[in-house]
Symmetry: C2
Subunit: 398 residues, 2 copies
């Protein structure tokens, strides 16, 4: 193979020279989407230099891209035509920045194995990028096991979006930084809690031919950060995502993309005992109106959580706050249905806003049991049992 030395020099990016050294050709937008997906697993703060790179490899199934931080690994394939087999590891940060901005749809890549330099060409743009050693790149984790659960990508993305935000962010109790995924008959439950609030989503999993087979794992704790990335990657996918699990890892497989996350070790708390069995007052509210009012009142909310008071049981739900020195806020939002007693509860507005932004219901049911009991939010309609969000009240000085 000729030297690629001249490719980075003025005048070298001409059609004929690029053609002569061409190794592979692919589409910019598919390459950019692939790099963006695997980049989600690449940490910018890694101590192992090889993990800052994306593995790019020509295979019979297409161009294979892999990114990993050893906890989360993403592998995807994009269509490619190639003449010579090759593997390279290019720095994710630079690769992502360059690829999505290339001037033309057609991207050609040449690789000089001796100098370990990849030359990326598109239109009149020529980038020589140094590769790391592909042999040093970690093997992609293999998860053995039955198909455990199948769900359309957009449903999985929604379920994750409605739960993962409620997980703890501090690492004191690692098992709270994950989402519990529990198999229970024909149903899968996703649960996350940081002990101040809890989100529970149920997804029907029967109707899938393989669901009756004994699952390898009956419950697992998936790291919330990794799960959120899974949600983002499969978001637009109507196609089913296949989920496999081993005692230590879980794999999500969707079309050409496989995402593997390690699982969190530990016992998830017995969340069911904090869910109230009934309620003293229940009302149905317009989600957007409630959200707008809470956002405004929270401006005068107490402490860094913007604590506000909710009043139930009248013709309206009232939201009020009191910021020492600044002033007080008071709002009312009309309720569609209203049952039970009057009452008041102090809540951290951030926890309330988190759920109001995460769901897309037009109306939500609010259930309260008293000033020291949690407030529960549910779907207002027939599918009420599918989702539950619970906020612990603030009991001191609120």
């Amino acid at each position: 193979m000729d030297s690629l030395e001249t490719l980075g020099q003025p005048g070298a990016g001409t059609e004929s020279q690029t053609e002569a050294r061409m190794l592979l050709s692919c589409d910019r937008d598919e390459l950019a989407a692939g790099v963006a997906a695997v980049q989600r697993a690449v940490s910018s703060r890694t101590t192992l230099p090889i993990l800052s790179g994306v593995l790019i490899e020509t295979t019979p199934e297409g161009l294979r891209l892999v990114g990993t931080d050893l906890e989360l690994s993403v592998e995807t394939f994009i269509p490619v035509s190639f003449s010579v087999q090759a593997a390279m590891v290019l720095p994710a940060r630079y690769l992502g920045e360059i690829v999505r901005r290339l001037p033309e749809r057609e991207v050609k890549v040449a690789f000089d194995g001796a100098r370990r330099v990849a030359t990326i060409c598109s239109g009149k743009a020529v980038y020589d990028i140094n590769s790391m050693e592909p042999a040093e790149f970690p093997l992609f984790p293999q998860v053995e096991g039955n198909v455990w659960w199948k769900i359309p990508g957009k449903d999985l993305a929604q379920s994750v979006r409605q739960t993962a935000f409620a997980a703890a962010t501090d690492e004191n109790r690692p098992f709270l930084t994950g989402v519990l995924v529990a198999w229970d008959g024909g149903e899968v439950k996703l649960v996350a809690t940081d002990t101040f609030r809890l989100a529970l989503r149920k997804v029907q999993a029967d109707g899938d031919g393989k669901a009756d087979e004994s699952p390898a794992v009956r419950q697992m704790i998936v790291p919330a950060r990794a799960f959120a990335e899974v949600g983002r990657i499969v978001q637009g996918e109507g196609d089913e995502v296949e989920i496999y699990a081993s005692p230590n890892q879980v794999a999500f497989k969707c079309r050409k993309t496989t995402i593997v996350s390690r699982l969190i070790d530990g016992q998830f708390p017995n969340y069911e005992r904090v869910i109230p069995r009934g309620w003293k007052s229940r009302m149905v509210v317009d989600r957007v109106r409630l959200m707008d009012a809470v956002e405004r009142v929270a401006v005068l909310g107490k402490d860094e959580f913007g604590t506000v008071r909710l009043g139930f049981g009248g013709d309206t739900v009232t939201i009020s706050a009191n910021a020492p020195e600044v002033g007080t806020a008071f709002e009312e939002v009309g309720v569609a249905g209203n049952e039970g007693e009057k009452g008041e509860t102090a809540l951290r507005s951030r926890y309330l806003l988190d759920v109001l932004r995460a769901v897309d219901d037009e109306e939500l049911a609010l259930e309260a049991t008293g000033p020291v009991s949690p407030v529960v939010l549910k779907h207002a309609g027939a599918e009420a049992g599918d989702y539950l969000y619970l906020i612990m009240p603030v009991t001191v000085n609120a």
Copy 2:
């Protein structure tokens, strides 16, 4: 007047009670726009508490709003109907957050002078906000002098946008943190430089009846930050902005809004001597193509300024960079017109991108005089003399 105590309590926000204590009524969107405009002069890091507030005052010309950090002062009037005269100073941060989110267009404000509490009502929302003492609020600066210059708001905004970004941000030489505004016959020049680059914009000021009158000040240095705020406030205004100046202050008057900035003391450098008299190579390039290519190449640009090399004089302008360890980048952008010699210059890409983003020309003329001389960008067409942007080359190790 009855106590307003009950207004912040549940059930108090009803139509009849609000009406009874109503002091003034205005439109939410006009109030929000007014607050947003005067808030631009309010510093969040002030040692004088009164300066964190917005003065709100009923006057025969409308509701008067004022914000100031003593360097920049903004006053505006919005339509209002009121029954009792009053003045209050409300915390800008809270006011801005609350007002723009109010549920209904109609906003009513009651003021309890004894307790110094303003009650802002809109729909079912009721906010009691503590006022500071209006008598402590600084007087709005009065600038005496002739109308010095008149220009449509959108032209002023464009002129500021094309120059102010080139001013220095560090305070070592205060006169470089401003934009020179110089009156020269029927023309006004705006000039800003941080010594690494320079932007010069000329605006025709003749045709204005008052322009022949001897201006109070022949040149002044307007702080770039304040000038940028002026540009943002008058942005959408086709109406003319009147500019008055005294030796220490400048006032911009546009419809209902007056903006006063202090001037910077000092001698602006003799910028004309750095502007090359001719060029060795000149070419006309598509602005967006050049911008896209520079953005990509800058990914591999040297140092924190993303230094890149520009090559002139062929059928294309070439842009290249070399990031140690990572790799090299090379791009070409076709040129429409090309005269003169071949040459190469190293530039800080940030300085080049700043101007490519600030102007909206389809094509720009690039002029170079050699590797150690500045590169000059101008309009490509007949109005070439109206704008000049100059970038000093990087001469060491580039």
